[in-house]
């Protein structure tokens, strides 16, 4: 295990968060010989502790600290204090994710150029291209053990997949498979193969699914260069008179306020907490929040265009048996404006157990229409629709100074309105998903509204020019050279793909950059 580092050791890199971004960055730096202190707000659980019970697991893992919401999105009405369904635990949301690992498409790094000037959308090209990220995607796929890459076979098809696949073929889709998943289809990297348990969202109890908790952080700790401090909630990043970050103030597991000095600070608390931390770190030198000279911190919050379609059939499906996300159709992921919107979407199978089905099928719904759908549960197949949503300046994380957390800090308010492009895409996706199930004999299809956000992106976005965003192509803030952002909040735009693989690829790339700059002593 890692030797603990002193609070006054100002040679360490402090990373806030231990998920896909922070957990990967910290491990990669430790492997390169860099000393890292990783501060994680949540507890540390072992995979044996995970629970195959949706609500019990939610209590164990979900981030349920107070947040508020506003805007016209339905989540604000149905789940006013749960804008996002993400994890507060060592490993972050890699504990909870379903494992879909898709690369962004080339045009998704150049949306302003490709989509043009779309009213209300704050589109911007990424300062990097697919070609620049490709070597890092390759590294990420290898370390995550992504199926259908590196010679790793795909996972076998479950019942839910087989209904989905049959429907996809019936309506003429060509690109349907059990996907590229960071779930072992055969033993690899000291982890066994998938036992088709289901409950991927509740933490994988067999270890077949990649997470920073089991696959990265222990490797980093073995080097002696990485110390993880669970139950450590960072309140503020501090800086000196020259504007360089000097460390962080956090509340430890015993409720004591501590100050950890740092040579470099990397923020990876997800797209809600990361901007909240920067805004809560305002000072006389940075009155609008740290790294916020552009005014873009917290803005351009993206959550992906989402929705689900469930199809009820005459005969049993048992969709919950096996991996939660068991297959994908990619035919609609392309950019083709003939459909009435820019960007594209993925169709991915999804299953929920009875408790979460009841909570999310039609939030607030009741009566026979609702319960007759629930009565068809065992005959139900499900898919999730996930596509690129438009960045909008007004979709943003702000500090709610009327509501404080237990440490007295203002909580995050999440404001979101759909862009007309998001709505057009969702309606198209609903109709295609319903057509798939209808084509194989669904007796009823249910277009289900978005759940609390699982993909949170864009609130500290990358930009070539400092005035357009918060960080540069390395995730380094434009304003503070030794302050980095290492999570999905860096995303300039969201792409149609599940974000984790891209977060991991960016983190590996960022580790190269940080280690190189440390050697050159530029930071």
């Amino acid at each position: 295990m890692a030797a603990p580092f002193d609070l006054n050791d100002d040679s360490v890199v402090v990373i806030v968060g231990s998920g896909a971004g922070g957990g990967t960055l910290g491990t990669e730096l430790a492997l390169k010989g860099v000393k890292v202190v990783m501060l994680e707000a949540g507890k540390r659980h072992n995979m044996e502790d995970f629970v195959n019970n949706e609500w019990e697991s939610f209590s164990q893992l979900a981030w349920t600290d107070m947040r508020t919401t506003s805007g016209s999105w339905r989540v604000h009405k149905n789940f006013p204090n749960l804008p996002a369904w993400i994890v507060k635990s060592v490993g972050g949301s890699t504990v909870h994710w379903a494992g879909a690992s898709l690369r962004f498409q080339e045009h998704e790094f150049k949306t302003r150029t490709t989509y043009g000037d779309l009213e209300g959308a704050n589109l911007l090209d990424w300062p990097i291209t697919l070609a620049e990220l490709e070597p890092y995607y390759t590294k990420a796929e290898d370390r995550m053990g992504v199926t259908r890459t590196n010679g790793i076979p795909g996972l076998p098809g479950s019942n839910n997949f087989r209904v989905f696949e049959a429907g996809a073929k019936k309506v003429g889709y060509k690109e349907v498979s059990t996907g590229r998943m960071a779930i072992n289809s055969q033993p690899r990297a000291d982890r066994g193969s998938c036992q088709q348990i289901g409950f991927c969202f509740q933490g994988c109890k067999s270890g077949a699914k990649w997470s920073t908790l089991i696959a990265e952080i222990p490797r980093g700790e073995e080097t002696g260069n990485l110390e993880v401090r669970p139950e450590s909630m960072v309140l503020k990043i501090e800086h000196d008179a020259s504007g360089k970050a000097t460390g962080v103030v956090y509340v430890d597991k015993d409720g004591k306020t501590q100050r950890q000095k740092a040579r470099i600070v990397a923020v990876a608390g997800n797209s809600i907490e990361s901007p909240r931390l920067l805004l809560n770190s305002a000072s006389s030198m940075f009155p609008d929040g740290l790294a916020n000279s552009s005014g873009q911190v917290g803005r351009n919050y993206m959550r992906h265009m989402t929705g689900s379609v469930y199809g009820i059939f005459e005969n049993p499906v048992h969709m919950y048996r096996g991996t939660t996300m068991a297959g994908i159709v990619r035919d609609e992921a392309k950019h083709d404006t003939k459909r009435g919107f820019v960007g594209g979407y993925e169709m991915e199978t999804l299953s929920l157990g009875v408790p979460f089905m009841a909570a999310f099928l039609d939030p607030g719904g009741w009566g026979r229409s609702f319960t007759s759908a629930m009565d068809g549960y065992v005959n139900t197949a499900g898919m999730w629709l996930v596509g690129e949503d438009m960045p909008q300046e007004t979709n943003r994380i702000t500090l709610n100074s009327d509501v404080k957390d237990k440490n007295g800090m203002p909580v995050a308010n999440v404001h979101f309105d759909d862009h007309p492009n998001d709505i057009a895409m969702r309606n198209h996706a609903y109709s295609r998903g319903m057509a798939m199930y209808d084509s194989v004999g669904a007796v009823r299809t249910l277009p289900t509204p978005p759940y609390p956000s699982t993909h949170n992106m864009g609130t500290n976005r990358m930009s070539e020019k400092p005035r357009d965003g918060v960080v540069n192509k390395h995730g380094q803030t434009h304003d503070v050279p030794n302050l980095f952002v290492s999570d999905g909040s860096q995303f300039t735009t969201g792409g149609a793909e599940n974000p984790t693989l891209t977060i991991v690829a960016l983190a590996i790339r960022q580790a190269d950059f940080i280690a190189g700059e440390m050697t050159k002593k530029t930071i």
Binding site: W55, N159, C194, Q195, Q196, S206, E314, P316
Partner: protein, 178 residues
């Protein structure tokens, strides 16, 4: 109407109730009992009539003909226990049931629980569905009912699977009708 009911007498009413809204739910002293399902629920902190109405309301909100009253009663029990220490909850529930009965009597001349058709009761619920009482009951019920492991088999859901080795050898890909 009054005459009809008088002529039928209490036993006739109880019999009708047995086939109607109240199912087999009866009040006995300070308990709601269900002789058909052979259970009783002692009610100490709410009026027994209130508890019976809550259980009927629960079924009206999430009607599943294959789920026994017992599970609706279990889902509603937290209001009974909560009322002991939470006066605001107690009055929300008691007042909420008074409102249901007032609306039911105004339209049909009988209390909510004595309305014979689910549709009649649902119509009353639609009038109050945006209010705090209904939202509280529905919000608690969507977890309190569907999170009972005992009801999962009724939906064909098998619950925890890691302890059984997952579904790799237990039918994750056994569909035969496609």
């Amino acid at each position: 109407m009054t005459t009809l009911i008088d002529r039928r007498g209490p036993s006739r009413r109880a019999l009708l109730a047995g086939f109607g809204a109240t199912g087999a739910l009866m009040i006995s002293g300070l308990a709601v009992i269900n002789p058909r399902e052979a259970w009783g629920l002692e009610v100490a902190n709410l009026k027994p009539e209130t508890m019976r109405t809550l259980i009927i309301m629960a079924r009206d909100v999430y009607p599943h003909d294959r789920i026994a009253d017992k599970y609706y009663a279990l889902a509603m029990k937290p209001y009974e226990t909560g009322a002991a220490t939470d006066p605001a909850l107690k009055s929300l529930v008691e007042d909420g049931v008074v409102t249901l009965d007032t609306l039911a009597k105004a339209k049909h001349g009988v209390a909510y629980a004595d309305l014979g058709w689910e549709d009649q009761r649902t119509e009353i619920l639609r009038q109050i569905e945006d209010g705090a009482f209904f939202q509280k009951v529905r919000g608690g019920l969507v977890v309190g009912l569907y999170n009972q492991e005992e009801v999962w088999p009724i939906f064909g859901y098998e619950g925890s699977s890691a302890d059984k080795g997952g579904y790799i050898d237990r039918g994750f890909s056994d569909i035969s009708w496609l």
